[in-house]
């Protein structure tokens, strides 16, 4: 997917999110570090363009809630967690991530959000659903579905980190890099 395709997809996702929620009241976007954060800001831009109201955007780093951290190994670099002022109690949260794969990241995000408060509703919105779920997790709004097999990798590029907007499907060499 190139930049224009991603941009169109984000515009449609923004409309679907507002429709699903019957408006923008109490809506809060939470981007998952790292690329979910940039996507959340872009969705907020799109929602603002259509509704003249920009929902607040927060960021969430789920590293400390991962279920594979107890294994000995190098530690992931932590990103910032910052929820919008006013917290998340009784608000409608949209978790935004780049790719939905096993569902384990979303599980961690749900656990972390539960430690911050009790939202009225949590939606899940991802740019790419690549299948391969290991947990009963299902996104509410999906940008695009890509059937990727185990040795393929879906990479979402955002301008802030990668210099451009796009989605790549990479096939890994048979050996682990």
């Amino acid at each position: 997917m190139d930049e224009r395709a991603v941009q169109r997809t984000l515009a449609r996702m923004a409309r679907e999110l507002v429709e699903l929620n019957h408006g923008v009241n109490d809506l809060v976007l939470i981007g998952i570090q790292r690329r979910g954060v940039q996507l959340a800001h872009r969705l907020a831009d799109e929602i603002e363009r259509a509704e003249s109201h920009r929902p607040p955007v927060g960021t969430l780093d789920i590293t400390l809630y991962r279920d594979d951290l107890t294994a000995i190994g190098p530690r992931p670099v932590l990103g910032e967690t910052r929820l919008p002022p006013g917290g998340i109690d009784d608000r409608k949260i949209i978790i935004v991530d780049d790719v939905c794969f096993t569902g384990r990241t979303v599980r961690a995000a749900l656990d972390e959000l539960a430690d911050f408060g009790r939202p009225a509703r949590i939606y899940l919105s991802v740019l790419v659903d690549r299948g391969g779920r290991e947990l009963p997790i299902c996104p509410d709004v999906v940008g695009t579905e890509i059937r990727a097999n185990a040795n393929q990798q879906v990479e979402v590029l955002v301008p802030e980190l990668d210099g451009k907007l796009g989605v790549l499907l990479l096939t890994r060499p048979t050996e682990e890099p």
Binding site: D61, L64, Y65, L69, T70, I72, G73, P74, R75, P76, V77, L78, G79, E80, T81, R82, D111, E112, D115, F116, G117
Partner: protein, 325 residues
């Protein structure tokens, strides 16, 4: 581009062992941990199921509580052992104490000990992660790190800053950790104090020496004021506490005459009216309570990074444990 993962090693014994990159990695990792202590629920499940023993052979309030908060906020199970009333008083050696703890399947030891080198001694003999919480006159690495984090927070950088450590450098592990860490990150470091309380060969660590605090204040951006142990007077290092205050005390008068805005640190506990006046300790230049807040974040970062471990070091320690060591 920043790396995706980081490795610190099995233990944190001292800042002398760490290169600039690793020190920066700990300080950068401490940043996101600050936020956790501001949450309503100050707890993340990162060390769930891990057991940490805080083994304190010397009295400590601040450091032990700070470590305990860090451990609890990462969901570890913690046990505090103070030597008074423990088997150590019955003559058990350090290694035997540690091996008995290991036999109960612990994961980490945070140790304060009166002997310099005790932390490394233990780290080489047990497979658990060892964090030095102060060993004799050697090092107190987490204090050095929290001092550096506090300086970086307020000054925006460490490189190129002039930091003066004032007071009893001779007996101070805080001074040594500061000197190692700050010089690694490119700060200029000086010490200032009575000759009796400065090590004779201190210049070999690459620091300036000031014998008058007025000159030090003239030179410095940051003053890190050490506690003067009251026992030093009885031991004859300084004639009297009042004289120490008159000659080396950080008084309001002196701070006001500084050519630039000083940043003032103190590792605590303070002797108000001896090494630092109340006006200064509670004044606008003091960041002493910020140091305490940052202490928890730095210790969380260290525990987080060490839990990633270096399996080969743990294996080496395990073989020395079962071998003849």
């Amino acid at each position: 581009m920043t790396p995706l993962t980081m490795v610190l090693g099995k233990d944190l014994v001292g800042l002398e062992d760490l290169d600039a990159e690793r020190i920066r990695m700990i300080l950068d990792t401490a940043e996101p941990f600050k936020e956790i202590s501001e949450r309503a629920i100050k707890k993340v499940p990162m060390l769930r199921g891990k057991t940490i023993v805080n083994l304190f052979f010397e009295p400590s309030t601040r450091t032990r509580i700070s470590f305990e908060f860090a451990e609890k906020r990462l969901s570890a199970d913690t046990v505090n052992i103070q030597t008074t009333g423990s088997s150590v008083q019955k003559g058990e050696t350090l290694v035997d104490t540690a091996r008995n703890l290991e036999a109960m399947r612990i994961d980490m030891v945070v140790m304060r000990h009166h002997s310099s080198g005790a932390a490394r001694f233990l780290a080489e003999r047990i497979p658990s992660n060892v964090v030095n919480a102060g060993d004799g006159r050697h090092e107190h690495p987490t204090q050095g790190l929290l001092d550096m984090l506090t300086i970086r927070d307020h000054m925006g950088r460490i490189e190129g800053l002039k930091v003066c450590i004032v007071g009893d450098v001779l007996h101070s592990r805080v001074a040594r950790s500061n000197i190692w860490g700050l010089t690694r990150l490119g700060a200029e470091v000086a010490v200032c104090g009575p000759r009796t309380l400065l090590p004779a060969d201190i210049r070999e660590l690459g620091v300036h020496v000031f014998s008058r605090i007025e000159e030090a204040i003239e030179w410095a951006d940051v003053m890190n004021v050490l506690r003067l142990q009251l026992e030093r007077m009885q031991a004859g290092y300084v004639p009297s506490l009042r004289e120490y205050n008159r000659v080396f005390g950080l008084t309001r008068d002196r701070v006001e005459r500084a050519p630039r805005d000083l940043l003032i640190l103190h590792p605590g506990p303070m002797n108000r009216g001896v090494e630092i006046d109340s006006d200064v300790a509670d004044g606008p230049h003091s960041v002493i309570l910020d140091q305490v807040t940052n202490g928890v974040a730095v210790r969380m970062a260290v525990l987080y990074l060490l839990a990633g471990g270096a399996p080969e070091d743990a294996a080496a320690a395990r073989s020395s444990e079962t071998g003849n060591g």
